[in-house]
Amino acid sequence: MSDEDNSEDLIDLFLNDELDDDGKERLASLMENDTRIRQQFVESLSWDTEIWSALNDDPTTESVSLAQTVRLAPSRQNTSPSRGRSASVMLVITAGLFIAIGLYQIFDRTNNNLSMPNDLQSQQAPLSVARVTGLNGGLIWTGDRGQIVRNIKVGTELAGGTIEGLAPDSWFELQFHDDSTVMIAGSSLLTFGDDGQKILRLREGRLSANVSPQPPEKPMVINTRSAVLYVIGTQFDLEANLVSTDLRVNKGAVRFKRSSDGEEVVVNAHHQVTTDQDTTLRPMKIPNATYNWKSQLNGQSGNYGKWKPSTKGNSASLKAIPLVPPGTEVVLFLAGISVSRSGGSPVVVLPDAKFVLRGKLREETRVYFGIRVKHSNGEYAGMFRGDLNQLQPVSKTDEEGRFEAVYHLNQFVIDPVVLKTPMENAPSPAGLVLDGIWAFTHTNSPSGLEIFDVELLPSDN
């Protein structure tokens, strides 16, 4: 049976409220991985709703339950008949605003704590499964009952839910009650829950975890779009995007299952594996570090900005997009690049290294530059800025607006935004593994900043 046939049945069961949790997971997975199934779902619901509405509008429609004096379905038992409500709703539409105003007056909303998508208030998590132990940058947590919290603080107890990193400088560390920790960095989306067994889903982005021993019958399970990981107790890094999942194990072992064919493999310490290989899954030893790196802009997920493919006369680029840092009204135009390991090797920043940033600007202005680094075991090590110690000169552009800016590692200082966090920051990025870079302008209006490439060169010569 094809995925599409399967999805049709699953959607039908879902609409009939007959889908159990396994079925829901299966449907979620199919929808996540297949555009056509997502479209099929929306079309199917849209059709059903149009039919429902047309039947409601039809004056000849008579309830089966009324005609046969049978009991209504459980979901409708405590509600007034649909016809009556529908009629009032239709009146609302035809009478338009008049009724809306009337309803507004009937429902006194002055004390109703209504909140809007951009105006959401924090709420206490109902049942804590974990505690926030470190964070930075824009983050949103959506709890299992829908409460949305933007102002998460260190020490906040969270129930299961979804945490989303909104910017390249976002990172978040969560500690479960058994001291297992997980950290996401950059633009990542992680759903987590713990009802005796920790179940996580990394939809995209990067996750590092340090997992305390779990009961063998209830390992930590981490789902991505293309793999499932079973973790008993270990330390590892995970990177997931639309097409692949990469796992690097630093300590212990992780059972790794490729979703597309169900193939499983155990990945031991100092080994890595990826789903992005057509042949048998084969863990490889993590290669030695590399000291050169050059960005490859190919529209990969995990980057922050608008990717523009190359056209005649123009290189591919990542265009800066607006970012409002939390708690400020400042608008920055920022582009961020997630640093994938070069050929599987960690990219280590040497003390005399330099970063060369090439791009385009609409007008000459300062281009600010920052990096995030981690320890070789994947733990957070700090965020640094290359433009603070010595004020970065205004980037000069050529007649086509192109510029090149150089940032020397010996000028990098700790990013002030992380000083207030309790996480331990390394004194310098030297000797650490590069995890992400970002560049931004602060001109109060779009600067037209586009990044063509960023290069890490090991020597300042």
Binding site: E25, F41, T49, G96, I148
Partner: protein, 179 residues
């Protein structure tokens, strides 16, 4: 002041044009039309209340969908409905799917399409319409429909599937004629 009222009226009216689309979305998250309709009703009150937060030029449907989502969560909170991880994952992916594929139609376009649907519904057999009424109007499960209409569950399923296909072809043909 009158400008503000005019703006509010225009925004609420535009929001109400998305009603069926919003009910479809709410139905996906909440499980039945009756509650979905209540949630959308509630969302319209929020639109009325917070119309100034709507950014001109942005998608009305997307803005209203975000409000409906919050109202769904609020309802679950009130009813203290526990959500399993699987349900939450599915909610997320459903929301993404709607963001990706649910599009706004003009009032005229939607009305023409709905006229065709009403016309085509009348061309479905009485028995077929009975099954549809039971499913969509009364919200009965396949099993309940089978019991009430004296049919086998599989026959109910097939009848619904077949008649929905017929409706689709009929509406599409009618729309082609119209254009």
């Amino acid at each position: 002041m009158s400008n503000l009222i005019e703006k509010r009226d225009a925004i609420v009216k535009e929001a109400m044009n998305c009603r069926i689309e919003l009910i479809a979305y709410a139905r996906s998250l909440i499980g039945d039309y009756s509650t979905a309709e209540d949630v959308v009703q509630q969302a319209f009150l929020v639109v009325f209340d917070k119309f100034e937060q709507f950014r001109e030029g942005s998608s009305m449907l997307a803005w209203c969908r975000a409000i409906v989502r919050i109202e769904v969560f609020r309802l679950r909170d009130v009813e203290r409905r526990e959500r399993t991880l699987a349900s939450r994952l599915l909610d997320d992916v459903i929301t993404s799917a709607y963001e990706e594929f649910q599009t706004e139609r003009s009032f005229t376009e939607a009305e023409s399409w709905r006229r065709s649907l009403r016309y085509c519904l009348k061309r479905i057999s009485e028995r077929g319409r009975g099954v549809m009424r039971a499913r969509f109007f009364d919200g009965l499960s396949y099993q309940q429909i089978a019991e009430h209409l004296g049919m086998k569950i599989e026959a109910v399923r097939k009848s619904l599937y077949r008649d929905k296909q017929k409706l689709r072809s009929c509406v599409e043909a009618k729309q082609r004629q119209g254009s």
